[in-house]
Assembly symmetry: C2
Homo-oligomer: 482 residues x 2
Amino acid sequence: MPELVSHPIVSTSQEIASVCQAASQAAQPYAALPARDRARFLDRIAQQLECLGEALLQTANRETSLPLARLTGERSRACAQLRMFGALIRHDAWLDVRIEPGDPARHPVAKLDLRRTQIPLGPVAVFAASNFPFAFSVPGGDTASALAAGCPVVVKAHPGHPETSRLAAEAILRAARDCGVPEGTFGIVWGGPETGRALALDNNVYAVGFTGSLRAGRTLFDLAAGRRRPIPVYAEMGSVNPLFVLPGALVARGEALAQGYSDSLSLGAGQFCTNPGVLVGLEGLAFETLIDNVAERLKRIDPSPMLYDGICDAYVAGIGRLYEDRRLVCHFASDGTAAALFSVDAATFLSDPILREELFGPAAIAVRCVNLDQMRQVAEVLEGQLTATVHFEDSDVEAVRMLLPNLVRMAGRIVANGFPTGVEVSPAMQHGGPFPATTDSRSTSVGTAAILRFVRPVAFQDFPSSMLPTELRYGELAEFPA
Amino acid sequence: MPELVSHPIVSTSQEIASVCQAASQAAQPYAALPARDRARFLDRIAQQLECLGEALLQTANRETSLPLARLTGERSRACAQLRMFGALIRHDAWLDVRIEPGDPARHPVAKLDLRRTQIPLGPVAVFAASNFPFAFSVPGGDTASALAAGCPVVVKAHPGHPETSRLAAEAILRAARDCGVPEGTFGIVWGGPETGRALALDNNVYAVGFTGSLRAGRTLFDLAAGRRRPIPVYAEMGSVNPLFVLPGALVARGEALAQGYSDSLSLGAGQFCTNPGVLVGLEGLAFETLIDNVAERLKRIDPSPMLYDGICDAYVAGIGRLYEDRRLVCHFASDGTAAALFSVDAATFLSDPILREELFGPAAIAVRCVNLDQMRQVAEVLEGQLTATVHFEDSDVEAVRMLLPNLVRMAGRIVANGFPTGVEVSPAMQHGGPFPATTDSRSTSVGTAAILRFVRPVAFQDFPSSMLPTELRYGELAEFPA
């Protein structure tokens, strides 16, 4: 998404360096805190955010145009997320501890005592998103999971909601003071791409968490990979989240599909990374009816204000380009920020990668396939996605089996007979996917597994119990000293 | 390590593309094989390698100059490694399966059925190492773990041992035929850096495993990061594996330390990535005695032939540079490939990063610190390592506590009162570490956790049991169709 650069607060490069330096100095003492103290800190952040009451919500509403009901829910989600990571680290299970007691009698070579756990990577730079001022921003999932892992955090606030960011940052700093967390464990910097660049290149930063556009995410990835000491970048970027409708489902539940799809597409003015922007079906009356029904419903939805002028401008321009594209049929579009629906034949969709790119907002392209094999080709040509969805009935099982390998290949989450918006914050969630959905398909930015992005394994060989991290002090111990 | 380029076999770019294309076509059918069939394949590879008997060992001995006893042990290790991954995937535990049954009654939003498992990344390019013709080469750990994960493998044979590579590749292909594994699941390409470059850039390759020099590893990392669709590179590169000797240990076990250290340093002509090339102690009579005793022992060891002319030339040149460096004291060195020991004061060592670079071979620098604080500074300045070792007695506990955070920061494995050579192949092993030891500190190239390098998570939402991967078919299931 485009970033506002007009906001007056921009951190100087000295300020950025000094916040990162403070994070670096906090890294060892913060990592050394007992996990229950880090958990208390996370709980306390949630509490402090709640204490800000209506004032925080009003500020966010003013800055982002998101409705109060949505913001209320999002703050609850952010607080629940902080507490979820707190609960997670109160037990050691997430550390994947592996303990092998020594065996001096083993032949031909004695077996040494070997114990493996995970340690924090070091300070993490978190790039806040525009579309979730709480849950993917200053006090969001990246911050919560990095702090849970034992890493200090430096957030680059999103320029679209500076006051919301400042209030949240102050809440985190109050929580840090309340809990006696080392100074420097949390810091915040301000500005646009230049601030981001300085942060990604700072020598005290050991990993990057990012939510935003493909362009910005890729830039950060390239900067981080080009460093003398490269660092991992977890960038969650774009996705068109294709939704495949098989013939049986179309016949059995055409009305429900139209309702569910138009709701999912227009939710939050389409400003979700799981927004289902591509609808794939077999050409014919049933699919045309679905398209018409979706268009009918979209017409009835009042356009919501979008997050920022930049996003709005990009959306309107994108709709304009689609409208002028002679290959597409326009079923509904306006010159404002209303939802929009176009359609195209699969042959054209297959031939032009531009039609497969994300347009951030409530716009969709319906793709008509001449047969199931062409639908398989559409699945084959789509690049990495956060989600892929398929609607089917009993009679469609063979077709699902044919599509499924490609849905699994392309996406991090595969949805059956549902809609991709609505991302559960839970252990089994996978919110990620192959490039260009993210820069690291091996990770998730939502759910408990997100903590694994910010740790690395370490094995201790033959250490006395008293010197080991507490989670390794089990089983038969090495003698001291060996 | 430098690579021979004189060997006549070099794959053409067409050959490389066609081997990768075949791997790509095998990816889905191979991933779809039941895990027990992949396990059988791994077992069968081990069996086929054993069936090659003495002939394989003789060939490797002729090509690498490694002694037969070492090669016998290394083949056993490679076979045990293949069988270990076979045993690992016969059970689902490694998949970190997370199952959340749905709850339609949840308020305010129904909970959907969510099930998370791991799927293979796709074809993996494995770059064979020179120093382990079996265990880190064609049938080595990268191949075994990638095949276990469900990924096809394309190996770039090391030009230093082509016949050994050919025999091993044929053994794998025989095992594949015996087990009905899809054609293309295993392939091999030949050549030097140009072949490696083509492989890392091939669009059908989804990850890279590499063991070798910092220069070659970094080049592969940069190529892979610069692709339109970046791919992960697991490059295990250089390390000086510092060994810190605390005063109590020096007094209590000086003789044993000298013996253990010189054995570890000269093992296999020092051609191990865990070779302890830096010895750190407090200046004074006890440390001088240790240095003298190590030098005495090194003098008595007959120089072993090194792997290849290139490695040998680089080692001899490196020793020459150290010998001519006026800041160093030479305790023992020859103009051949014998072990060598130099010493330097910590202030000089701290000031010059070149002294902290790996010299591949049996050479070490002893570093004299004026006090424990300077020793801590040495620990602080060292970059990423595969291992860090500390020798201590009861009286040294405070000093260990001071050093330990930095040892943990720099290394993947921390050794107490032992020596870093000898890498156990087991679940608790961590063979990896921060850059420049590897390009991905979050991974290990030895032990069962190595399989995690080649998978990514996928969540299935609301799918009927019959369409799920078998490991997800537990618990209360969603109705079908939803």
